[in-house]
Amino acid sequence: MQDFLELAVSAAASGCIYGLIALAYLLMIRPTGIINFAVGEWAMVGAFGGYLLLSKFEWPYPLGMAAVLVFMLGVGWLTERIAVRPLVERGAPLLAPILALLGMLVVFREAISVSFPPDPHPVPYALGIQHQSFFIIAVTSVVFIGVWLFFERSVAGKSFEAVAIHRRAAALMGINLSRVTALSFAGGAGAAGLAGLLVSPNVSAHYLMGVPLAIQGFTALVIGGVGRVEGALLGGLLLAFAEQLTVRYAPLPAGYAQGVPLLLLMMFLLVRPTGLLRAK
């Protein structure tokens, strides 16, 4: 029983990280249809922000965390202005900004790679090693509740949904598409950066940390579905529990459990490509 409870907390914390990355994807996909694989690199940037502010300059954790969040919102907004908006305004096909964002992935990674020494960099725990999992769960819960309330209860959130349902109709109703797109990228970068900051005390800030997070988050998104905010969290939790329960209890040779996320991804793409939760 002790094993299971320990594992439940550990899997819930990992699931929250995956969920936040999935949320980052979702915030951009819903109103724009653009899949931004650079979310993993945004998480890396968030982790390095944590290293700089919390480890190097020793800012108080809440202040450092808030600063990283604000910075990441700016990074997302800027990314949209540089890599997405010019293409959209020129009427480029949807694939164009996706490719441009893949280019941004390389830009982010190389910028960090040349700016910092190659070794992993330590980021402190918010409340100590024993409580980091609970901290991750608590912060993620607050984020998801906030985002859910935004979409379900606010007019601005409804405008996002309107754009997601029909961009042209939403524009005709007076919704500023550019602003919605910019905000969706800012929100995506905020969620991804937060995920990076939260996971970095465990895995350290490292310039190669982005791609695995991007894959895990994408898998969580496919499992949960792109239609609903809560789907991102559900997908993340399911993925993490499947991974960790398989490692712990399945009678598989060491290393074989790594195939679980891939199996889940393939299974959902084949059987239920819309994910577990469909849009209302």
Binding site: D3, E6, L7, S10, A13, S14, I17, E110, S113, P117, P118, D119, P120, H121, P122, I129, Q130, V199, N202, V203, S204, H206, L208, M209, V211, P212, L213, I215, Q216, A240, Q244, L245, V247, R248, A254, G255, Q258
Partner: protein, 375 residues
Amino acid sequence: MKKLLAVAAALFAASTFAQEPIRIGVITDRVGVSKPYSEPCTEGTLFGAAEINRKGGVLGRKIELLVEDDQSRPDISAALARKLIDQGAVFILSMSLTPATQQQQTVTMDAKTPQMTPMNSGDTLTTQLPNPYFWQTGPLGSIQIATLLAHARAQNLKRVALISDNSDLGQLLARFFRAGLEKSGIQIVTEEVVPRGATTAEPQMQKIRAVNPDAMFMAGVLTAENVLIFKAYRQFGLKFPIHSSYNLSVPVYMSVAKGLIDGVTFVDAYDPDKPEVKQFIAEYTKATGKAPFNLHGYGYDGIMLVAEAIRRAGSTDKEKIREAMQQTSYAGVMGAKGMKYSFPEGKRAGFDPDGMVVRVYEGDRQGRVVHVGQK
């Protein structure tokens, strides 16, 4: 008269340094997965080359390093080896991942150009291809496990756990560990893998806790994943000893695994009490303003070995360098006290099998040597 002699000496020096430099190619990794290891190794080589040039160069000629970045990608690596040879490199030092170094060999064997890796530890690098122009002075993985096992043997271990990551090198080292442990009659009661990009190692450590081993051997080479293992170990309050591969000899653990590694033993090729190491640390720190560590030593020894071979060859003729290289007997920074690099007849792996040491973390500091060699 004195003035005349000084002018003549200056003119002589100017004329020798005006000669074509001796070009040595360096293939390193500046952006790929091996960057944390390749970069300090390359820094050690750059420092060594500067020191050689300051002392008059080799055969009266300056050493010029042609540095290329292969991102640890074998496909790029082979092309870069060809490029360096075309640019006049008489020797290539390989400092990225083992598969990339292996791929370069296809070119150096064809072009009959001497090549050496001062840092790769894969056991098969000198055995897969009959390439008489290739040498390896990094300590082999099998030497590491044998040294660690020699140390562990004294502790009468019967049942152990083995944990690694899913990187190529991590899996390769795990294979060496497995073979060595089985040969020693030590039972591996569970074997776990922490995949690259994992966010926790708790499930793996729970399984290890459940079988209550006498000790745990770590073969992984991915820093972040290794730190996850230490975190779970401390969180669960586990007490069995941890014996690790040379990966723990990289000082980054002192900061990223702060408070987690006290008492962990690890294999190293660097004895801080060795006179050559003390001198190297002092000179490197004076020249660069920062203290070197073991990976810098690999690169430094690498360029020194090459320079020494060219000196003994008496020319930059590649065949003569090859012959001189094979006759190497050189005491460098790396290895236990008194160790010399050499290539026994028919062998091209030059790190003495008894040249490694086992050290222990004392707090967060890489501490004393607790064992030397395989005996």
